[in-house]
Amino acid sequence: MGDHHHGPAQGLSRWLFTTNHKDIGTMYLWFSFAMFLLGGFFAMIIRAELFQPGMQLVDPAFFNQMTTLHGLIMVFGAIMPSFVGLANWLIPMMIGAPDMALPRMNNWSFWILPPTFLLLASTLFMEGGAPAFGWTFYAPLSTTYAPPSVTFFIFSVHVLGLSSIMGSINIIATVMNMRAPGMTYMKMPLFVWTWLITAFLLVAVMPVLAGAVTMMLMDIHFGTSFFSAAGGGDPVLFQHVFWFFGHPEVYIIILPAFGVVSQIIPAFSRKPLFGYDSMVYATASIAFLSFIVWAHHMYTVGMPIAGELFFMYATMLIAVPTGVKVFNWITTMWRGALTFETPMLFCIGFLVLFTIGGFTGLMLSIAPADFQYHDSYFVVAHFHYVMVAGAVFSMTAAIYYWLPKWCGRMYNEAMGKTHFWISFIGFNVTFFPQHFVGLAGMPRRIPDYALQFTDFNMMSSIGAFIYGASQILFLYNVIATIVSGKPISDEKVWEGAEGLEWTVATPAPYHTFETPPKIDPAHAHS
């Protein structure tokens, strides 16, 4: 490693000033894992308080701060940066580029994140406490009735939005301009495709989020009334603007996960992806539909019936391309030669649980039924099935799959499989019962509940502790691999793995593809 004129610098400055996509990818991944543990810690506090009825550990105001920060940190601090980290590591290697197109901007887009989240977490110690209005920060609870720390929250959202936009611009610029000769668009690995589409979504909607928080800032400090009826505004406008960002955001989180799964399932099925083209088109259709379904988060807000019907039909339509994806993955497995290493286990876990999350999503799209589901624990269960079992499981699969390539050492397979089974069981014990309490009438975001919800909440809390503990095992396994895993040197770590990243040396050298690789024109996409 680093045997000629531009190996990595030594010490802290390597990380502070690096423009190397692998270094930056590594930092993104470690940062997001730290945030995952922090957000998870908040979740543990939430579940501990909800273990039994009555207030035991925290007061209701602090409970609201926990739910708010848990959501914000998991979405913006853990899941999104983790996929950006993965993109940094993999996209240049997958398309045969020496680095990202804009390496210096890459450095900035990472380094503005840690101080931002430090600031966001520090609001916990401010007077009036941290933001306590939910990660969706509906006005006027987040404007007229917000704690003073809301200004810092707004600043944080601005900065992390900026980071995301810079990161996405970099990814688009890389994919559009840095592909090796012969790497046509329809030859790109699906992970690159899904990220390209995700990056376009980000560039389109992160500014909308910035607009929403800017309006909040103006309402709070400059006397405007965008969201206050008193001055001619409307609190419901906030929800429209937020979800115009928020719904594409959901797909921003899940599309790269689709990409990961589309890389890993073929590898362990030893069979090419069934329908590459239809996967690309399905991804694009999901991205398009994500712009016209936002108000399905607002069925109970009192829209005209024509609006409700439009958003219901459009939302139901999403089931079609999503179904295409699930069918594709399963047909890829069909008559393959399957093996079940840890990455594959996590992908199968993803497939089963994400599909369940998709079904509950379809149920939620039915407007009249949503009048009963809305803002209940059924919704909480639904989005954890797609966010945790969707995004987080696929991310975990990605780490197990590519980590040996990155560090040249193999992880402990038995420990990996154990991690999977504990996660899988812990996850389901946590979130499956939440469907039940939701249908039975338990609203979300409450610190205490009526006695009939006790059994399932207790179960849910125990599952959460199990799932939380399993992440420590994961952390241990990753560190043990990097420090003392069994060294490997095969370029192709996995028998069935396809793609340019598996053609470079193992561990992946600090610089790869300084001269573009030759792409076999007949070679199928991976």
Partner: protein, 382 residues
């Protein structure tokens, strides 16, 4: 390593097994509800049917999809020496799995649309009730032609001592209020929903009603309960600290009982008007004040004014200080604390009585006698 993993697995699975058995034991006495309830309205039944149909369709699709997947997982293993096929892309299959789901979706959209239309039909209501969400309570106002609207607040009745585990929790823990909304059975009731401060959402699962309350604007919905009974719900939109502590209780009664109840309420309102002009003796005020205290103050300030969640009233500088200051705290509350503004919740008669009580009970012995007119004047002049 494998041993370690096995041990870990055991350790992790232990609680799960314990839990399942514990849950089974708990279930022996009382089965927790796992599904949506059809409730007591026609629309609720329609929604329930819709929910079950779609759940059924999803289950069937799920069994099919997972069936194929698990077949593959079991039979198409490398360890069984299975050689991978090389097929990919089939336009026929791909068109099929695009078109079939689309048709299924249309099948779902039809009943969904008709149910939604029913849900939106607020016309021909026989009774109109205005529901206003407050941090953290509900106000109900019956709109009446005579102009004498009956209106009252509905507060959580569960005492703090139950919430903070000092006392055994009651059967309807967190789902009980001091004064429920009373509605007549078999009557279409139009519900107008609005809010006083932040967003709230009025949700009673059994009545199949959930509607957001938005400050400045009114939303409409309706319900028609077909069975008398007590139905409980909660605020469904995060509205700040005590979002979890503003339940809804609806008491659906026969039409006769409802008429009777309404008469009583109207008589009460008229009585209050009369009492406003009356001058009370200290004993009368103490008696009335004690009742009001028990209902509105005791939970936080204790049976003997010793304090609890709230400050002590016995010997407090407010209750033994200037009367105007005491009235001010009672009427306007103390911002930033749990002490709410009771000026809009208690009528002037009750306010005068409870202030009198607080100033004379618990050895405060101030000798002050507060009349309704004093409260009225204080409010006017504040």
């Amino acid at each position: 390593m494998w041993f370690e993993a096995k041990r870990l697995l055991k350790l992790a699975l232990g609680p799960v097994l314990m839990l399942t058995s514990a849950a089974a034991m708990a279930a022996g006495t009382e089965v927790s509800q796992v599904n949506m309830s059809p409730g007591v309205t026609e629309v609720g039944q329609q929604i329930y049917d819709l929910h079950m149909i779609i759940l059924g369709i999803c289950t069937i699709i799920g069994i099919g999809v997972f069936g194929v997947m698990f077949y593959s997982i079991i039979y198409h293993r490398k360890s069984r020496g299975f050689t991978p096929a090389t097929f990919h892309e089939s336009t026929k299959v791909e068109i099929l799995w695009t078109v079939v789901p689309f048709i299924i979706l249309i099948g779902m959209a039809v009943p969904a649309t008709s149910t939604l239309v029913a849900l939106y039909d607020v016309e021909d209501a026989e009774l109109d009730v205005l529901i206003t969400g407050y941090q953290w309570k509900w106000k109900y106002e019956y709109l009446d032609e005579s102009g004498e609207n009956v209106s009252f607040f509905s507060n959580l009745r569960t005492p703090q001592s139950e919430i903070y585990n000092a006392e055994e929790k009651g059967e309807h823990y967190l789902l009980e209020v001091d004064e429920p909304l009373v509605l007549p059975v078999d009557t279409k009731v139009r519900l107008l929903v609005t809010a006083n401060d932040v967003l709230h959402s009025w949700w009673v699962p059994q009545l199949a009603v959930k509607k957001d309350a938005i400050p400045g604007f009114i939303n409409e919905t309706w319900t028609k309960a077909t069975e008398p009974g007590i139905y409980r719900g909660q605020c469904a939109e995060l509205c700040g600290k005590d979002h979890g502590f503003m339940p809804i209780v609806v008491n659906v009664v026969s039409k006769e009982e409802y008429a009777q109840w309404l008469d009583t309420k109207q008589a009460e309102a008229a009585e209050i008007k009369e009492l406003m002009a009356k001058t009370f003796t200290l004993d009368e005020q103490m008696e009335r004040g004690k009742a009001v205290y028990t209902q509105s103050c005791l939970a936080c300030h204790g049976a003997n004014g010793e304090g609890g969640v709230g400050t002590a009233i016995a010997g407090s500088p407010i209750a033994t200080g200037e009367l105007a200051g005491h009235l001010d705290v009672g009427i306007n509350g103390v911002p930033g604390t749990a002490m709410q503004a009771f000026g809009g919740q208690l009528n002037d008669v009750d306010m005068a009585a409870v202030i009198t009580y607080q100033r004379n009970a618990f050895n405060n012995n101030m000798g002050d006698l507060v009349q309704p007119i004093d409260v009225y004047n204080h409010k006017k002049g504040q």
